[in-house]
């Protein structure tokens, strides 16, 4: 049975969205992108450097992949809105990963500014995918603002700590059964991705876990499989957790 991932009216086969930052080379990035099976990649908006000829980074991306620009580096709604408008103009896309950071050490999101920016951008016709703290109430507000999906963090950006608060994700899944939830940031290893998917995430966005792996393309393959395994595990319906054992083999009839 095909298990398509629908996001803002677009159909994806892969539930893994990956980044383009921190790779050691363009070649390694390209190989990792292919291995991941991802159909959408994030890019950052940045000033063109003065006095230095630059090549187009986008030329290193597979043209079949959808480009999702982000508003990384923005610390308030105003900067994020301006960045989104620039990205739309340059790429001719309405899609934006909205990221408003509240603090340079933790890179934790400023949820209040994120919501404010989301409202403005939705009104301007953007497809806003907001990165935010894994909080149910905030998720509801972002969805009410018109975001087609919410992107709660698993752990701080680039930390590789894995899902720090599985209860929050589970509650979000149970309370918002129809919402599209994409876990964004904090995944470190394939088991983290599988856990997030088992908890009911619809997709995962990651960058550093693949880019900083010793063998990025191999890790991209592992992440692809983990996302698939976690998804299938979620759809299959897990067994209940029990405090005590439950024998798998019949106890009656064992020789005495």
């Amino acid at each position: 049975m095909p298990d398509k991932f629908l996001l803002a009216g677009k159909e994806f086969t892969s539930r893994l969205i990956i980044g383009t930052g921190k790779y050691r080379s363009h070649e390694e990035m390209k190989a990792a992108h292919v291995a991941s099976g991802a159909e959408m990649v994030t890019v950052a908006v940045n000033r063109v450097p003065l006095d230095r000829k630059t090549e187009s980074f986008l030329d290193h991306l597979n043209p079949s992949m959808q480009i999702l620009p982000n508003t990384a580096g923005c610390y308030d709604a105003d900067h994020a809105i301006r960045t989104a408008r620039l990205a739309r103009e340059a790429l001719d896309t309405e899609w934006i990963k909205l990221e408003v950071i509240g603090d340079p050490v933790t890179l934790l999101p400023d949820n209040e500014q994120t919501l404010e920016a989301a409202k403005v951008l939705v009104a301007e016709g953007f497809i806003v995918l907001p990165y935010f703290t894994d909080d149910l109430i905030m998720a509801k507000k972002l969805l009410d603002a018109g975001c087609p999906a919410v992107m709660p963090l698993a752990a701080p950006i680039g930390s590789g700590m894995g899902v720090q608060n599985p209860s929050n994700l589970r509650i979000m899944r149970e309370q918002l059964p129809d919402a599209t939830i994409i876990v964004d940031a904090g995944v470190g290893v394939p088991s983290d991705a599988a856990i997030a998917m088992e908890l009911g995430a619809d997709a995962i966005l990651m960058n550093t876990a693949i880019a900083e792996a010793g063998d990025a393309p191999a890790m991209a393959t592992a992440m692809k499989l983990a996302v698939q395994a976690g998804r299938l595990g979620y759809l299959s319906g897990r067994m209940p957790k029990r405090l005590y054992a439950s024998a798998s083999s019949p106890l009656a009839g064992a020789i005495k």
Binding site: G21, V43, V48, F57
Partner: protein, 86 residues
């Protein structure tokens, strides 16, 4: 018109013609000569024109308007492109 006044006017016009414009571009103050429009600014800076976007005094200027949008002294301009990110 007196010769003195005429000379003064000519000087003022010349000063205007040759005075460098100071533009704040991507966070740096730049004195630019011979720049009139946003399109000529990109040329002067040897910037790419594909898949970039320009903000002039915090307003995005559509690509089709780069040729007709004048740059003025003390303008603040952001020219962005895309880099790797997550």
């Amino acid at each position: 018109m007196s010769p003195l006044l005429t000379r003064g006017l000519v000087q003022r016009i010349r000063l205007r013609e040759y005075r460098d414009m100071t533009i704040f571009i991507n966070g740096e103050a730049r004195k630019l000569d011979g720049v009139s429009t946003l399109a000529s600014l990109l040329d002067a800076l040897d910037f790419p024109k594909q898949r970039v976007a320009i903000e002039l005094n915090k307003q995005v200027i559509r690509k089709q308007d780069w040729d007709s949008t004048d740059v003025a002294d003390n303008d603040t301009i952001e020219v962005v492109h895309f880099v790797g990110g997550g």
